[in-house]
């Protein structure tokens, strides 16, 4: 195992007796060239501006009929350098995948290849307007069509809706298609079943689509309780939403059996594909009996997310649900010309449930995702899944001797390794480990989710990290966990070295300050 700091270099840090300060307080509050940053409202003045607008020389009557604002907005003025520095300083305090390991479970924080960015910035893609004449944007339409084709092939599904703009938006798309399919045959089902091992967005989606949500328990091995699920099926169950691989990091090996039972009872199977990274190129969800599944392009297919870019959640659909897909969608005519099917194409739109977005989806993410697929090829995508699973299992097996791993006995994990805080002493908890990892230079893993594990810690390394990088993380993770096992009081004060110490999350939630009070 590589030492995390091979040269042995240590910063010349002065630590006060209470361990709180790393040196004398500075007059400015800055630490060397890491700068403190006030709010825009605190640095701006009304009398400056970064834009030189000409004076208004028209005296046109307003049509606002007395609704025109008479008081100033109260926005501050800033010069351009002040604005640039403000956001650049804040960006230095941010943490992202371009800075280091980002093991946030169920989020698939993988590297965003620079080739994706290069292709997305080609003027023919970057500058298209959604209302451009279709004959002028054939290339963009072909990208949508081609990407959709890859998604259908990788999932073994016959159709895809490209417009949903995030994972949960895709879930809503799938559930609305399921609702439309039931209603088309006059079947008023009211219940959606969601296992405990599913993503938290699943019950929210079902409730948003006006279904009543019922839980299905998990087995002690961390998978769906198949018998409990079968016992609950009936003429009132519209769908089952299953996350596979699930949030315990396990593959739902009885998926086919579940899907068959759901279909026999007249329901549909929604699969949350957020964790598709673990099985891409290895398993086709269509072969498992899935009727609808969203794919997070911003996870599996490497487009930016987590503040770095918009999500994109295309939904693959089975034959049964395909006719109800949302508008618009891209088709190709016999002459090889791509065109959009929209509301006015009455014959082709069929029983579509309508429209989820104004236009055609996240074009900038489509170009990036297709670039990722083409640059990896089918064999490369398969290796993505293999490496992601190997990395997660390496972490699971490197930690299980000291850290409670509730499902370590259920076989290999998939994309993520799940731990709990059962053996910590001295009142220390998962939160303290998360804060301790910040001091060690790591963004914490997902904590307190899934709820089925006490003090859950969900670690997803993805295929991005090298063995050396993962070894370094394991060294740091083990060191922090050892402190929690030993009841190290000092860990309760972490982080020591972040720009801010431990924030009062309780006060922030109970008494949030949502507006600047000057």
């Amino acid at each position: 195992m590589n030492a995390p700091n091979q040269s042995g270099w240590k910063p010349a840090m002065i630590v006060s007796e209470d361990g709180m300060h790393s040196g004398p307080q500075t007059t400015t509050g800055n630490r060397a060239l890491m700068l403190e940053e006030p709010l825009l409202f605190e640095i701006g003045r009304a009398e400056v501006t970064g834009v030189d607008l000409p004076p208004v020389d028209v005296n046109a009557p307003t049509r606002l009929a007395g609704l025109a604002r008479s008081e100033p907005l109260g926005l501050v003025g800033l010069t351009e350098p002040e604005t640039v520095r403000h956001y650049t300083r804040l960006s230095r305090q941010n943490y992202g995948i371009d800075l280091g390991f980002f093991p946030l479970g169920s989020c698939t924080m993988k590297h965003n290849p620079r080739l994706n960015e290069k292709i997305a910035r080609l003027p023919g893609f970057a500058d298209v307007h959604p209302l451009s004449p279709q004959n002028a944007v054939q290339g963009a339409l072909e990208v949508i069509s081609e990407l959709g084709g890859w998604l259908c092939t990788l999932t073994g599904m016959p159709a895809v809706a490209m417009s949903p703009k995030a994972g949960a938006h895709g879930e809503l798309c799938g559930i609305l298609a399921i609702r439309a399919a039931h209603e088309a045959r006059g079947d008023a089902r009211e219940v959606v079943l969601v296992p405990e091992s599913a993503h938290g967005t699943n019950p929210a989606t079902a409730a948003f689509a006006n279904y009543r949500v019922e839980d299905i328990p998990a087995t002690p091995e961390g998978r769906v309780d198949v018998e409990a699920l079968k016992a609950r099926l009936g003429p009132d169950v519209a769908a089952v939403m299953i996350t596979n691989p699930n949030t315990c990091g396990l593959f739902e090996k009885d998926f086919r059996e579940i899907a068959d039972a759901v279909h026999e009872a007249g329901g549909y199977v929604y699969c949350d594909g957020a964790n598709f990274n673990a099985i891409v190129g290895k398993v086709r969800p269509g072969d498992l009996g899935v009727d609808a599944m969203h794919i997070n392009l911003h996870k599996t297919f490497s487009t930016p997310h987590g503040g770095g870019g918009p999500g994109s959640g295309p939904v693959v659909l089975s034959e049964a649900l395909a006719p109800f897909a949302p508008l618009p969608f891209v088709r190709k005519d016999d002459a090889g010309t791509f065109y959009l099917v929209e509301e006015e194409n009455r014959e082709e739109r069929g029983p579509s449930f309508g429209r989820m977005t104004a236009f055609h989806g996240q074009m900038g993410m489509f170009t990036r995702a297709l670039t990722y697929m083409l640059s990896h090829g089918a064999d490369g995508l398969k290796q993505v899944a293999e490496d992601a699973v190997l990395n997660a299992n390496y972490i699971l097996r490197s930690m299980e001797d000291i850290l409670h791993a509730p499902f370590a006995g259920s076989g290999p994990c998939m994309h993520e390794a799940l731990f709990g805080d059962k053996d910590f002493t001295g009142g220390l908890s998962t939160l303290d480990v998360a804060k301790g990892l910040i001091d060690e230079g790591y963004h914490p893993m997902t904590v307190y989710f899934p709820l089925v594990v006490h003090g859950a810690m969900l670690v997803e390394p993805t295929e991005t990290e090298s063995k050396a990088a993962i070894d370094q993380f394991i060294t740091a993770f083990r060191a922090v966990v050892e402190r929690a096992l030993a009841g190290d009081e000092g860990l309760k004060q972490a982080p020591y070295y972040a720009p801010r110490r431990r924030l009062d999350e309780t006060a922030a939630a109970r008494k949030p300050k949502l507006a600047f009070e000057g």
Binding site: L431, V447, H454, A509, R510
Partner: protein, 123 residues
Amino acid sequence: MPRYFTDEHEWIDVDGDVATVGITDYAQGQLGDIVFVELPAVGTAIEAGKDAAVVESVKAASDVYAPITGEVTEVNPALEEDPALVNSAPESDGWFFRMTMADSSQLEGLMDDAAYKDFVASL
């Protein structure tokens, strides 16, 4: 006034036909600092074992289940302003709601104080 407990860590006080429901001290300790409590509307019919309220802490949102079947007659107005009452006084001032009792025999399936203590110790 007898007090009963569920294995989902709700307590229920029975006073004649009216029952008062809250979550136990063990439950609040597990949840951590409570930041929001969503209570059922007065008049809501609730069913034993089904969701009746939601409690949200800095860690997670959790369902609170109805220990018995009945109708909500009163909710604790103090929790809206001060959800921290659930942490500071979970088994007294931090009560959630009062309800009617449709079938008092449902109480027989619940734990008494000693049984609940043993149950918590076994976790």
